[in-house]
C-alpha cells in the first residue's frame, strides 16, 4: 500500500460523499463529510501535479482554502477546507459589482495570488467560478491547473486554463508565469464591472485603464506582480 492508497482508504472509510462538484476525464471534485464530526471537506482526485497543494499545506490565508492533506502517486488526492459561500460566477449572473466592490475583490485575489506566486506557483485558472465569496472575503479555489514556474522551460507543456481568461502564453507561446494570472485577473475585474470580456466592452475610467494594462498580450507590458496591481487599485 502506498501513501496515496493509505490516504484514499482513510477518506473512503471515514467520510461520506455528499455530492460531486466536478467530474472530467482529468478527475473528480466532490464534497465529503467526516462521518463522526460531520465536518465537510472538498476532496479532489485528478491526474496531474499536486505540488502546489503540497506547498499550500502549511499556509493559512483568508483568501485561500486551507489544504488539509495532499498526496501524489501518479494521481493527486487532496483534502481541503470546504469554503461555504456563492461563487463569483453565481453572483455575477444578471448583476454587476460596484467599482468599490470590484476593487475589494480584486485586491483580495491579489493577496491570494501573491501568496501563490511567492511560493513559485501560478494559478492559471483565475475565473469567476473559482472565486467563492465567504462573507466579505473572496477565496480563490481550485489549483488543479496551477503549476510551479520553472525558469528553464520556454513554453507550457500542457494547455490549461479557461478560454477567455487564459493569457496568450498559456496557449504555448511562452511559459506562463505570475503575469498570466495578472491577465486573468484583469479579465475578471472587467467582467465584475461590465459583465463582459474586455474584448467586447472595456470598463470605463481608471478601472478600464487598469484592465487594459492587465490584459496586454506581452507579459512584460502588464503589471509585473500582484503587488504592483494592488498599488494601482
Amino acid at each position: 500500500m502506498t501513501l496515496y492508497e493509505s490516504f484514499l482508504e482513510a477518506v473512503t472509510t471515514e467520510y461520506d460523499t455528499l455530492r460531486v462538484l466536478k467530474q472530467s476525464p482529468r478527475g473528480t471534485v466532490s464534497v465529503v463529510r467526516h462521518k463522526k464530526s460531520g465536518t465537510c471537506y472538498v476532496f479532489r482526485r485528478y491526474s496531474g501535479s499536486g505540488e502546489v497543494y503540497r506547498r499550500l499545506l502549511p499556509v493559512l490565508c483568508p483568501h485561500l482554502p486551507q489544504i488539509m492533506e495532499a498526496e501524489q502517486d501518479g494521481q493527486t488526492a487532496v483534502l481541503e477546507e470546504y469554503v461555504q459561500g456563492d461563487t463569483l460566477a453565481e453572483l455575477l449572473m444578471g448583476a454587476r459589482l460596484t467599482e468599490r466592490e470590484a476593487r475589494q475583490v480584486t485586491m483580495q485575489l491579489c493577496q491570494a495570488l501573491h501568496v501563490l506566486h511567492s511560493m513559485g506557483a501560478v494559478h492559471r485558472d483565475v475565473k469567476p467560478e473559482n472565486v467563492i465569496l465567504r462573507g466579505s472575503d473572496a477565496v480563490l479555489i481550485d489549483f488543479d491547473a496551477a503549476r510551479i514556474y520553472k525558469d528553464e522551460s520556454e513554453s507550457d507543456t500542457q494547455v490549461l486554463g479557461t478560454t477567455g481568461f487564459a493569457a496568450p502564453e498559456q496557449y504555448g507561446i511562452f511559459q506562463s508565469d505570475e503575469r498570466a494570472d495578472i491577465f486573468s485577473l484583469g479579465v475578471l475585474l472587467n467582467i465584475m464591472l461590465t459583465g463582459k470580456h474586455p474584448s467586447r466592452e472595456m470598463a470605463a475610467g481608471k478601472m478600464g485603464r487598469i484592465v487594459r494594462k492587465c490584459t496586454m498580450t506581452a507579459p512584460e507590458q502588464r503589471y509585473q506582480s500582484a503587488r504592483a496591481l494592488m498599488e494601482v487599485l
Binding site: P58, C61, Q66, H114, V115
Partner: protein, 424 residues
Amino acid sequence: MNFEEKRCPHCGALLVENASFCPYCESVLIEKRPAEMPKPKRRRRITAALLLAAILVVTLTAVGFANRGKIIDAQGAELTYEADGQTFHLALSFESQGGAPFFGQPLFTVEVREDQVRGQVSSSHVFVDNGGGVDKKNEFLALVDHYEVTTTPCDGITLLQIDETFLPTNSNAAIEAIPSYHTEQLKEGEGNVIWTIYLKNGDTLRLRHTAKITRVPVVTLTENDYPMATVDDLNALLDTLAHEADRKSVYILQLTAVTYEGGLTVKNFCCDLVGSEGGTTFTGTVTIATRGIHPSNITNVRFMGDGTGIGLSASEGAFLHRCTFENWEIGAYGGLGSWVNATGCTFRGNGVGLWLDNRGGATCSGSYYGDSVYEDNGTAVRIAAMPGTETLDFNNCMFRGNGVNVENTAGYAVDLSQIVTADN
C-alpha cells in the same frame, strides 16, 4: 506496509510518516502559519510611519524607564532586592517583631466587633534582612529616598486607611505604618496595604499584604433580659453564659445601679461590663478569665475595697474606662500572661493602684494610659513585667499624694512627660 508509518498523537491511528492531517480524528499534524500578504504602498507608508512612531515612543519610554530605574513588584509580601553588592530580603508583616529570617505575612485577619465601626489594625511592618536572618534595615534605609503606603478599596468601599507611617524605634522593623479600618456599613472584606518604596538609585520596590476584616457579633444583655439585682443574679447569669454563650460573640452586660456585695468571675466567653450612670459598685474581686480572643471592656464601674484583696484581676486583656478603684491592697492587677489598660480611671487609697505583672503573655493592645487620677496610693503604678516594646503613655494623668508614682522595675518604656503631679 511499504512506507514509514507513525501514529496520530491524538487518536493513535496509523498514518504515513509525513502526514499533515489525520483523516480519522481530523487533527492537523503540522504547524500552519498565516501567509505574509502585501499591503498597498500607501498603507505601508502609514504603517511604516506608525511603526516608526511606535518605535520612537517605545525608545523614549525605554530611555525614560532606564533613567527611572527598575520597578520590582513583589505581587506579595516578600521580595529580594540586590543593590550595591548587597542582598536585601524585604518582608511585610502585621506582627511587631520579625523572625530571623523574616517571613512575609500575606494575610492578617482582623476580627472587629460589630459595634466598633472604626479602629486601628495591627501595624504593617517592613522587615529587612539579608535573606538569612541578618538584619539589614539600616543598610536598606540608607538606600531609601522616600516611601508611601496606600490601601485599595474592597468592593468599592475603603475599609482601610493609613493613619501614620514612621521609622519605628522600638521594633526591629525598618518602616511601620498604622492602618485603620472604617466599617460604618458593618462590612466585612479585605483591604490591601500596598508599600511603594522609592530608592535613591531610581528603583521602585512594591510589596503588598492584606488585612481581612471579619465581624464579631455583639449581644447586649440588660436587667430586662436577666435578673441583675444582686451579685448572685450576676453569677448565675455568668455561669449560664459560660456554658451556653457563643464563643465567637461578645456579650455586653449592662449592669444596674446597685452595689454588688461581693465579686464575680467572667470566664470562658467574651464579656464587657458596663456600669450604670447611677452608680454600679462591686465590693468583692472581679476576675476576668474570659479566655476569649477579644479583650474585655470594663466601663464606669466602681470597685470599693476594705483595704485587702484585689479590685480587678485580669488574666486576659482588659480595658478599664472611667472606673474607680478605692481602698484595695491592689486596685487593678494584670498578670498571669495578660495586661490591663486604664484610661480616665481613678485609683485612690490603694496599696498599689495599677499593677502590671504580665510575665510572658500577650503584648498590650493599647499603650495609652492617660487621663487617670492616681491619688493617695502607696504605689500608684507598678510595672513589674510587660512584654513588648511600646511606650506606655501616661500623659494627662494626675499623680497626687502617692508614696511612689511609677515603680518601673521592669524598666519598661514609659512617657511621663506630660503628667500632672501635686508639685505642678
